[in-house]
């Protein structure tokens, strides 16, 4: 970024929104074409640098970890979202998240690691990684589910770059906190910023990814652009969106939902049909787009891969 935005006045304050959004779309479209031409064959499957909303991401590696279930429609996935930073209604994120600017974006990485703490620009964060498509089931704690064709890379690959020390027992994540652009943060539905965390072995698990796109395009803001976590065997709220901070810590961090209602939301939040939410059943779920309810599977159907992480643990106690 050569030109910085003046901090005290934004273009949205001068130009009618419809016009500047059109302009932005035009610029995005144009830069997409330019980027496509630049990237060419030289960067096959590599992150190309100019990642902007709705740019397409080409030459994705396919993953054997993908489900062969039919993904939900692009429209369903991008209009039915829980992202309380923009409001409590499922339609609020699609309605209001365009108010969040995601460029420039950097992630603060710090904590128990050998590498020095740093603010890593998104481009630098992504550059070494090969993006792949991961089609995952997503099970919300509210008992609905979707199948989402994410684009991302293993979280573990990123973690290794920072060389966490033996004291790093957990990874803690934080979402952007910017009430001026995230209207839900002006209220107090949850404590802001949103915090989530994983135990180190969970974070290193090959199924845990950081996503930057979906359906071969970069994420929309309502999905947690430009960078979000996806942990498919846990309830959706663990998959924190619009990440600005990653910290290696010794103590188990307190995630936002646990802080809000401790007896209903724990740290682990593994999908588990046997352990109900105190007020509703987790035995079944509604797959968005299908009429019949389906039985919820242990660890959201990823038990073969992840059950070993929890050997000997009482999952009713560690909900």
């Amino acid at each position: 970024m050569l030109i910085r935005q003046a901090p005290d006045i934004r273009s949205s304050e001068i130009t009618p929104e419809r016009l500047y959004r059109n302009r932005r779309q035009f610029i995005q479209g144009a830069s997409g074409v330019v980027a496509g031409a630049l990237v060419g064959g030289a960067m096959l499957g590599r992150y190309g640098g100019l990642l902007r909303a709705q740019e397409s991401i080409d030459n994705l590696k396919q993953s054997p970890l993908s489900t062969d279930e039919e993904p939900n429609s692009y429209e369903d996935i991008t209009t039915y979202n829980n992202f309380y930073e923009f409001g409590l209604d499922k339609g609020d994120p699609a309605r209001y998240s365009h108010e969040m600017s995601i460029d420039p974006w950097s992630v603060r990485v710090e904590g128990e690691m050998n590498k020095p703490a740093a603010d890593v620009a998104l481009d630098d964060l992504l550059r070494p990684h090969t993006l792949e498509e991961r089609i995952y089931r997503l099970r919300c704690v509210e008992a609905w589910s979707m199948v989402v064709p994410w684009v991302g890379f293993p979280l573990g690959d990123l973690i290794k770059r920072f060389e966490p020390t033996s004291k790093a027992k957990f990874v803690k994540f934080e979402t952007l906190h910017r009430p001026s652009e995230m209207r839900g943060q002006r209220g107090r539905s949850l404590e802001w910023p949103y915090v989530e965390g994983l135990r180190m072995d969970e974070a290193m698990h090959p199924l845990a990814i950081l996503a930057v796109g979906m359906y071969g395009k970069t994420l929309l803001n309502q999905q947690g652009a430009p960078l979000r976590l996806v942990v498919p065997w846990k309830y959706g709220f663990k998959s924190i969106k619009s990440i600005v901070k990653m910290e290696f810590v010794e103590e188990q961090p307190r995630n936002s939902w646990n802080v809000a209602i401790p007896n209903e939301y724990g740290f682990y939040s593994n999908v588990n049909p046997e352990v109900d939410h105190p007020r509703w059943s987790q035995a079944s779920e509604r797959r968005i787009g299908s009429f019949f309810r389906m039985r919820t599977a242990m660890f959201n159907g990823y038990a073969d891969q992840v059950a070993g992480l929890y050997d000997g643990m009482d999952l009713a106690q560690n909900y």
Binding site: K90, G91, R279
Partner: protein
């Protein structure tokens, strides 16, 4: 405008929420989770009609609009109508008669229990809403039975409280309105509020007159 014509207008207005749902269904505009959307809207309107019904008597006493009494039955029956749609949505669209899951739900989920209880307590009210039933039961017994409307409204609000994830504002709003409506009844009782000659007809004891039920 005659009472009859006003009633027709109110009747049509009470069907607007259903009309909007049907319209959105036709337009494919019921969100990505249509069954949840239908469940929430019919539930909202059940509560709204219950509160409207319970607002009739206090408003009538406060403003002296004796004509209002004749709308109470219609509003109450619409509350039952939307409650039936709400319950059917749960039974048919959401669980499609999967009684194993439903039984688990009704017994173990307190919010479902509360909602089910509220719905069931509306059934005798709807069943005894005709002139003939009022006569058969007699005014006093009919009135006692129809106090179930308070129970249904409380159950409905509690049902809502117990199912929200964290946003208690909507159920809290309903709770406050319900508290005001129930509180007004206590207040009227202690201030012995009467509206002119209407008391002679039994209206003030909560039993509708033939005139109220006409048309």
């Amino acid at each position: 405008m005659s009472v009859r014509r006003v009633k027709l207008c109110v009747f049509a207005a009470c069907l607007i929420p259903l009309g909007l749902l049907v319209w959105r269904a036709v337009m494919g505009d019921l969100t990505a989770n249509p069954i949840e959307y239908i469940t929430h809207r019919t539930g909202d309107w059940t509560l709204r009609f219950l509160l409207l019904t319970l607002a009739v008597t206090p408003l009538r006493k406060l403003m002296g609009w004796s004509q209002l009494a004749s709308f109470r039955r219609m509003l109450g029956l619409f509350a039952f109508f939307y409650a039936t749609l709400h319950f059917s949505t749960y039974l048919v669209l959401d669980f499609f008669f999967d009684f194993e899951l439903i039984l688990d739900d009704v017994i173990e989920r307190r919010y479902v229990t509360a909602g089910f209880f509220g719905f069931v307590s509306l059934v005798p009210l709807a069943a005894t809403s005709t002139k003939a039933m009022i006569r058969r039961l007699g005014g006093e017994r009919w009135r006692s039975l129809h106090r179930l409307a308070y129970v249904a409204a409380v159950a409905g609000v509690v049902h809502y409280f117990w199912l929200v994830k964290i946003d208690v504002l909507p159920p809290l709003t309903y709770a406050v309105i319900l508290a005001v409506l129930l509180g007004s009844r206590v207040w009227f009782r202690y201030t012995n509020h009467r509206v002119g000659r209407a008391s002679a007809t039994g209206r003030d004891r909560g039993v509708p007159t033939d005139a109220d039920l006409a048309g």
